[in-house]
Amino acid sequence: MSTMEGYNFAYLDEQTKRMIRRALLKAVAIPGHQIPFGSREMPLPYGWGTGGIQVTAAVLGPQDVLKVIDQGADDTTNAVSIRRFFARTAGVATTTDTSAASVIQTRHRIPEKPLREDQIIVYQVPQPEPLSRLEPSRAETRRMHALAEYGLMHVKLYEDITRFGHVAISYDYPVMVNGRHLMAPSPIPAFDNPKMHQMAALQLFGAGREKRLYAIPPYTSVVSLDFDDHPFRTTRAPHACGLCGATDSYLDEVVTDDQGGRLYVCSDTDHCETRREAGHTGSESPLQEAAQ
């Protein structure tokens, strides 16, 4: 594939990439700590993955194989748009196969298949500041991070437990990284939080509009906040995937009619397809339907 006329490889100029790489090195050196960076205006709107795109552009090389997912799916329109952007500006090979990708840019999910040391996962982050809903001033939250003053977040969790019986955060569930920095894992479902802990792959986070980067190096401790008597727990729809029968994957709930009909299917489309190719079936598989 040829790259786009008049633009540098992967769109950004080399000076900008160098600036981002320097910020990324700093981010890797202080896991979970937000690094301000000179986020550029991208040809895609803020809030649509500009941070992730800049990080991907800075780490991408001509030999890389890129996978882009949104909501776990390769075929959601914004994932298609971002994958095309890099196919157009960098001419890199793209894939939907998690195991074949060297760089995975994601919005809202971590693939079900465990990632390897030779892979990088880049998260799109709308709001990098985990304390933002509790304290709107960034001058103040920076001070709180500097002092590791996270009592406010524990109070929030405690208040949830007293009101609802458990923590009522179901996505973007705050984590403590390397025992030091409170971090927003981006709006992945809490179901995905345990995958971040001691992950073999490098995890990079880009927030373009908020102009912050952060990172989790491989094999780093990532602990979801909880209390001894109210341990962290994840939720998923209590069903099996209608297509591949998986009972351990995160499921999307699809409305099938106006009579309350629901179908549950894997949110990770590659995971589901790989399982179906291996012969796994679910209650809605065409074969099963034919048998009925």
Binding site: P43, T77, R209
Partner: protein, 360 residues
């Protein structure tokens, strides 16, 4: 029911773009709109797009307006995304608005002053009656003309500075910040704040400026001067060692004169709010000057109570490219997060029901 996973995102995008292009063109029986027409006849739209897009280029702004079907925030976004790819050859010397070739200059604080009041091409005293002769395409009568004097038109504030009644200009010589290269940090110095306001959304600044007039952080403003005209832009290439003229740009400048009661260290004197923008942009620069002054509350020992005085609040929300992206990103799929919320709310309802049954 056989479920087919939703495929075809690529085709949907291609089809959407083709439809958009046809929609943009409209009825092909109507002549295509030329960029020169937009540039010459929609000048205020061009000016706004250049100001908020942070790029002074009337032809590119005209293209952006055409491409965005007149959606000016979308047009400013197109310019921003273009300008960020451009190499930087040089920085200009500070422009001197006292040497501006003034088209319009009004002061509300003096009846007359050296250089005079120059009404210029303004809507101010037009009666807002729809002009049906325009619809008929009638050519306007030629305007009155006069010879330019070429005299430098001193800024109104300079008269007050000489008398010691208003705070002087900030000392020159420091390199201003640049939020297009360095992320905002707080406390943000005034040069950075002014840069953010200059490219900020006109509507947002208007609302904030208006709020200060209605009591949310009032600062008793007088329009010291508003001037519109052309200024020369100069750069000094390192290999030359002297400044060269690279062209003229149209600017609007607003100097607000505001009350200040004085403090322990400073005698009572007028303070300033400042507004500057590309093109003819009086509403924008006047709003900007009100908000600039409001954000100086802390520096001037005033209580910080109103939204317009909260520097973080103003600067983080004044950029309409950032704002429109994040507001509109809500239309992207969020079904994974929504699913986790569904499961949480179902669990909470089940627990509530179980509690009710146990109580019965």
């Amino acid at each position: 029911m056989a479920y087919v996973a939703v495929k075809g995102g690529e085709r949907a995008i291609d089809n959407a773009h083709a439809w958009l292009a046809a929609d943009r063109r409209g009825n092909p029986d109507v002549p295509d709109l030329g960029l020169a027409q937009i540039r010459e006849q929609l000048g205020r739209a061009i000016d706004r797009v250049m100001a908020e897009g942070s790029l002074y280029d009337q032809d590119l702004a005209a293209l952006a307006i055409k491409q965005s079907q007149g959606d000016l925030i979308e047009a400013a976004f197109l310019l921003r995304a273009y300008r960020t790819t451009l190499p930087r050859f040089a920085h200009s010397e500070p422009v001197d608005t006292a040497t501006m070739a003034v088209r319009r200059r009004v002061s509300a604080v003096f009846k007359d002053l050296p250089g005079g009041q120059v009404l210029g091409p303004t809507y101010d005293y037009t009666h807002r009656l729809l002009d049906f002769t325009l619809a008929a395409g009638t050519a306007p009568p030629p305007p009155a003309t006069a010879h330019a004097t070429g005299a430098k038109m001193q800024r109104v504030n300079d008269f007050l500075v000489h008398a010691g009644l208003i705070e002087p200009d900030a000392p020159a010589g420091t390199t201003p910040g640049d939020i297009t290269r360095q992320p905002l940090t707080f406390p943000a110095p005034r040069d950075v704040r002014l840069q953010a306001l200059a490219r900020g959304d006109e509507g947002f600044l208007l609302g904030l400026g208006y709020s200060t007039q209605r009591g949310y952080g009032g600062n008793h403003p007088f329009a010291g001067e508003i001037r519109v005209g052309e200024v020369t832009v100069e750069i000094e290439p390192a290999e030359l060692g002297f400044a060269i003229d690279i062209g003229d740009i149209t600017l609007t400048e607003c100097q607000m004169v505001n009350q200040f009661k004085g403090s322990k260290t400073q005698p009572p004197q007028f303070t300033r709010g400042y507004g500057l923008a590309f093109g003819h942009a009086e509403r924008k620069t006047m709003s900007m000057a009100l908000v600039d002054r409001a954000m100086r509350a802390e520096e001037l020992g005033e209580d910080v109570t109103a939204p317009a005085q909260n520097v973080e609040f103003v600067l983080y929300h004044s950029d309409n490219i950032e704002g429109t992206g994040f507001v509109e990103h809500l239309k992207l799929p969020h079904y994974v997060d929504f699913q986790s919320e569904l499961e949480t709310i179902r669990r909470m309802r089940a627990e509530a029901d179980a509690g009710k049954e146990a109580a019965e």
